[in-house]
Symmetry: C2
Subunit: 205 residues, 2 copies
């Protein structure tokens, strides 16, 4: 809770807006240098608020870091959520396009935070949770005989998430002469190839 | 250099053998708990040597950690190196089989260390270096018109490395009823599908 009469702040923001702003500042600072080299002061400065006010929102650097990762995962999941109003192939393309848009807009953060797993159980749990959610919601949009996806498809979709991430990281680092439309086309055809190969069923159209 | 008359050690080992043993102890300890919770004493104890002797080999915990990651990457690259004596499809299968063998044998370490990228530049550089090496040596075994791989293939192979890693991590965690042969078959057909889709050329046979 924010106390009455707390230190005056640069701008008056609602609690949610302030929290979101702190997460964005955290994303910026954490993607610029290693966790150990970041101080709470750095993040407060980047957000233009006092350290005391920051502590109203987060108990410390680690909690803020985990929230940044959670928030980035959540944002990516939201941006790329399949739009069930669209036809399957359009839905696929829209989702992959949104993924590339997000990655491009958060280039440094994407490459680093999406790989911020390390040997840290809590970070791994967030990253794994997001991966499972992508796999599950993709399975939900696919029709299978008897309603059950073959194990090959489930495993292939886990692989698919890693494929999209690594391909995107490489493309952000070196486009190899492909623009966003070209990468989007490539991802669409790779998804169809992967799914068809794993399921032995005709590709969605 | 190991000094004459140093503290007696449990067993007399050559410098290389001792170093390798320390890396294995490090891999075990680092895959069991987060970096911050590991002390040099833990690793010395796990290796059955004195802390002083450990400092003959590594300047500290971080250097040992980076060497463990380098060593694991190097081992995986060695295990899975394409055997050019084999026919293309057999070569592919042998390499993927070796990958699954390695991953199974180092189950905890594989899942964690292979994702130990985080926001740590030095770890990222090792992991990226290994990824680029896998992509390059795969490209070297493929014939392309004019000797130049299309950009779609290069990007797809970067994606492929992420696919293999994520699919393997999921399989180690939950087999989904597939044994190693089943996963190997799946990976072989996924590779062919990915390559064919990206290159628009017939699959290797």
């Amino acid at each position: 809770m924010q106390r009455m009469g707390a230190t005056p702040v640069r701008r008056r923001l609602s609690k949610d807006a302030r929290r979101a702003e702190l997460l964005r500042a955290g994303e910026r600072v954490f993607s610029e240098r290693p966790f150990e080299e970041v101080s709470i002061d750095d993040i407060a400065t980047a957000a233009g608020i006092s350290k005391n006010l920051l502590y109203h929102y987060f108990t410390g650097k680690r909690e803020l870091f985990l929230e940044v990762i959670r928030d980035s995962s959540r944002q990516m999941l939201d941006w790329t959520a399949p739009d069930l109003e669209l036809e399957p192939m359009e839905r696929l393309r829209a989702s992959l396009r949104a993924h590339l848009d997000y990655a491009e807009e958060h280039a440094t953060g994407y490459s680093k935070l999406m790989r911020a797993a390390g040997t840290d159980e809590e970070v791994l749990a967030i990253v794994d949770g997001a991966r499972h959610e992508v796999v599950q919601r993709t399975l939900d949009t696919l029709p299978f005989p008897g309603g059950v996806a073959p194990p090959e498809v489930v495993l292939a979709l886990h692989g698919w998430v890693g494929m999209v991430d690594n391909l995107t990281i490489e493309w952000l680092d070196d486009s190899h002469g492909l623009d966003k439309d070209g990468v989007c086309d490539l991802l669409v055809s790779l998804f169809v190839a992967v799914l068809t190969s794993a399921a032995g069923v005709p590709a969605p159209r």
